[in-house]
């Protein structure tokens, strides 16, 4: 078993013809990077969903708490806010910001797509 020179030569001759393509390392590293990016995106999405869920639960919790404590105070505050927003000067103040927001949101999405691709 220590020698088996014939077998060793036979196997060596067979392997001599086999070779990995020269760009194998580059392609594998590329696949690893793609996988990493995909995993990062998945994590970001999961974090965003968690954040939204947390905010929604916090808002719902706060509303329930306020309703339990003083329902009159809450309805008064909501009415005041609606009254404030519906008056013309105040509405005019918020309109430019709203328009800017509507224009900037799609622009931000477009930029993200462009940078990531």
């Amino acid at each position: 078993m220590k020698t088996d020179n014939g077998l060793r030569t036979a196997m060596k001759k067979q392997s001599a013809t086999r070779q990995l393509p020269s760009n194998f390392g580059y392609r594998t590293m590329q696949r690893i990077d793609e996988n990493l990016l995909r995993r990062e995106k998945r994590n970001e999405r999961a974090q965003f969903i968690c954040l939204v869920a947390f905010c929604a639960l916090s808002v719902a919790g706060s509303i329930v708490y306020l309703l339990m404590r003083d329902s009159d105070l809450l309805s008064e505050s909501v009415n005041d806010l609606l009254r404030y927003c519906s008056t013309a000067p105040h509405l005019l103040f918020w309109i430019p910001s709203l328009v800017a927001l509507l224009l900037l949101l799609p622009f931000e999405q477009w930029l993200k797509r462009k940078i990531l691709s």
Binding site: M1, D4, G6, L7, T9, M11, P21, R27, T28, I32
Partner: protein, 182 residues
């Protein structure tokens, strides 16, 4: 194995992904040779080698330097190739106990030691007819020069089991070459 391999792994886990190229450059040719011998097709072997290194990268945090990186990556490669081959039906050569006993060690010794052109061609054909596990064991033992202990670590089989398997592989090769030549 280079002394600083554990340090390289720590750096990769800390975010320096590009350092993984070192392991690709160092171990990919041997892993490819092993898988190519096991599966018999170079295209499939290339894909499985890439899968092996992807798995190695993903499981890098579970590598704790109890074994060398080469042993660890060989184990992944061996299992990856075996599970790919499990889907295919492999023809097996059945040898009875009587046949094992009929062949003496001296006969196998001289047959496997012969370096004539015809014998080498017959041996190459015989090696191709072995099972994937057997091909892996002889690749490590004869080509990579790995010890029985290392092979048993890779395959998770006992050392005595590997010794018995090597002994039987030699006899099986003898049966195959005598059938080829006779």
């Amino acid at each position: 194995m280079r002394q600083d391999e554990p340090d390289i792994i720590v750096q990769i886990l800390a975010g320096k992904t590009e350092l993984f190229a070192y392991f690709l450059d160092t171990y990919a040719p041997q892993v490819f040779n092993l898988i190519a011998r096991m599966v018999g097709d170079e295209k499939d072997a290339e894909e499985l080698t890439q899968d092996t290194f992807m798995k190695a990268y993903q499981r890098l945090s579970s590598f704790h330097s109890e074994s060398t990186f080469s042993t660890w990556v060989y184990r992944i490669a061996y299992n990856t190739a075996l599970s790919a081959l499990r889907k295919e039906k492999n023809e097996c050569l059945a040898i009875t106990d009587k046949q094992w006993e009929c062949i003496s060690d001296q006969e196998a010794d001289s047959a496997l030691n012969d370096e004539s052109e015809e014998r080498i061609a017959a041996l190459q054909k015989a090696v191709d007819r072995l099972s994937p596990e057997e091909k892996a064991i002889i690749t490590w033992f004869y080509e990579e020069g790995k010890s029985i202990a290392e092979i048993s670590q890779i395959t998770k089989q006992t050392e005595s089991n590997i010794k018995v398997r090597l002994h039987r592989i030699r006899k099986k090769l003898y049966i195959l070459i005598t059938a080829e030549e006779g």
